[in-house]
């Protein structure tokens, strides 16, 4: 589902990733871990083409990202749900409109959008806050809005960048459970985190990123 083959990426002289190779299978939930600045975010950005590799090949679903034209990138991104570290919510739009935006770009009829958004907001237990602006929500609630937005179009792949970064233990647990539920429905999930507790005891594969390459692969 996600395959990296000898991928390298650097910013000017600063090498971030060197000859990184790994694969996440279809329907798998896996983790990328490593200290801050190890290149986790860059690795995720390479998957949704916000960055391009200097070398190597990245295949996402059936898309070879190296061969993608600029005009085709949006169609890849529609198949990849992203939970951003900084949320990227639009604070002048309600929770409902933030989530609906992911469907509006698909040119979906408003009636269908309404049904799907209400369903996904129920899943993340925010249906009662649909008409509220995001700034009036707690950090955990905002994170759930972001997950709802990433999931509403039912992408085949879900990427999460430090999804529990600023959340307390209880809220982190709720978010982690949400990812498990999403994965249980067949979505491939890749979570980048520096928080060991997130994958300990899960029995899932964990890729350890250190000094620009995948140092080891363990079972959490």
């Amino acid at each position: 589902m996600i395959q990296f083959s000898n991928v390298s990426k650097s910013y000017d002289e600063d090498v971030v990733l060197r000859d990184v190779s790994f694969a996440v299978e279809k329907g798998e939930l896996a983790y990328i871990t490593g200290p801050s600045g190890a290149g986790k975010t860059t690795l995720l950005k390479l998957i949704y083409c916000a960055e391009r590799p200097d070398k190597g090949q990245i295949v996402v679903s059936s898309w070879d990202t190296a061969k993608l034209k600029q005009s085709t990138i949006p169609y890849l991104r529609r198949n990849v749900g992203i939970v951003f570290q900084d949320f990227r919510l639009l604070y002048n739009k309600t929770v409902f409109d933030n989530v609906a935006l992911a469907l509006r770009i698909h040119d979906m009829p408003p009636k269908e959008i309404k049904g799907k958004v209400n369903d996904v907001l129920k899943e993340v237990k925010l249906a009662h806050k649909a008409e509220i602006l995001p700034q009036h929500l707690s950090g955990g609630e905002q994170q759930r809005v972001v997950i709802a937005r990433a999931m509403v179009s039912r992408p085949t792949v879900l990427l999460a960048d430090e999804p529990t970064g600023n959340l307390d233990a209880e809220t982190s647990k709720t978010i982690t459970n949400l990812f498990r539920e999403i994965n249980a429905r067949g979505t491939t999930v890749l979570i980048a985190t520096h928080n060991d507790s997130l994958f300990h005891g899960t029995g899932r594969r964990v890729f350890h990123l250190k000094d620009t390459h995948i140092e080891k692969e363990t079972i959490g």
Binding site: Q70, P74, R104, H106
Partner: protein, 294 residues
């Protein structure tokens, strides 16, 4: 269609949300288009006046001395058949003298030295087309001079050339002013949409990351630009209508001769400004949004 409706809603919300910058832009576009509309209107009036003044423009064909009535009739029939002329009027020697006497009035004594009528008989030929080209008139006059029985052909050559020069200057002025206004309006909209685009940069980035196409991202800004242009055009047309109505109804009170220059404007004159505003602003918006990179 749904994308267009979404863009329309987004553009209207942005127009309201960023009302002050949009209002200033609409007014700037309106003033630019009003200047152009006024210049075109003035040109239309001058052009119409020129055509009215030159309505009876024609040639005077002086005939040879002692031409027979039969020869004169042949010439008359020839002129009547000529498709370039709308009117052919014969002026006999006597009529010419009478006219001259009438014109001289008290200065009639200058004719006392003449024993015979010195004036030739002539034909006054009026052109069908209003304000004909000087080169065309010259060619026609030369052609008539070659005819048997024709002594000379006269017309107001300098006057005709002056009218044409004036008309040409106005036309060139419209092209230059139109070009300048086009650039100004396009730049004003370019600047505003660029600012609006940067203010919504986070939204644009998020849309890109969610998988929005370039078309989806661009359209709301283009629609907003079109709205700005149309509103500016409407303001320009409304101001022109107000100003023109004022001149037509109140102008003669202060400047009686003005009614000789002013023509009533048809309603269709007010439509081009909003259309031109929309086109100019669309071009400005298009360049402001630029190439969207993922």
């Amino acid at each position: 269609m749904r994308t267009f409706i979404y863009s329309l809603q987004t553009a209207l919300k942005s127009l309201w949300h960023e009302k002050w910058i949009n209002l200033l832009t609409v007014l700037s576009v309106g003033v630019g288009l009003l200047i152009l509309s006024l210049f075109i209107t003035i040109s239309l009036n001058i052009d119409s006046s020129l055509k009215r003044w030159s309505k009876n423009f024609g040639l005077v064909v002086y005939l040879d001395e002692g031409l027979t009535g039969e020869a004169e009739e042949t010439l008359k029939q020839f002129f009547l058949k000529d498709p370039d002329f709308s009117e052919v009027k014969y002026v006999s020697k006597e009529q010419a003298l009478q006219e001259l006497r009438r014109m001289l009035g008290t200065g009639i004594s200058v004719l006392e030295g003449f024993e015979d009528n010195p004036l030739p008989s002539s034909f006054e030929l009026t052109f069908k087309r209003k304000l004909p080209e000087p080169s065309f008139v010259r060619r026609k006059a030369d052609q008539l001079r070659q005819m048997n029985g024709v002594d000379d052909v006269e017309y107001g050559e300098k006057w005709l050339s002056s009218l044409h020069t004036l008309s040409g200057v106005m036309r060139t002025g419209i092209i230059f002013l139109g070009g300048a206004i086009f650039i100004a309006v396009t730049f004003v909209t370019y600047g505003t949409v660029k600012i609006l685009f940067y203010r919504r940069k986070d939204e644009v980035e998020t849309l890109k990351l969610l998988g929005a196409t370039r078309h989806f991202i661009r359209l709301p800004f283009l629609v907003e630009g079109i709205f700005i242009g149309i509103l500016g055009g409407i303001i320009s047309s409304a101001a022109l209508y107000g100003l023109y109505s004022f001149i037509i109804y109140k102008g003669p009170q202060y400047l009686p001769s003005i009614s000789a220059f002013i023509i009533p404007l048809p309603l269709s004159v007010y439509i081009p400004a909003p259309v031109a505003g929309a086109v100019m602003s669309l071009i400005g918006s298009f360049f402001a949004v630029g190439k969207i990179k993922y």
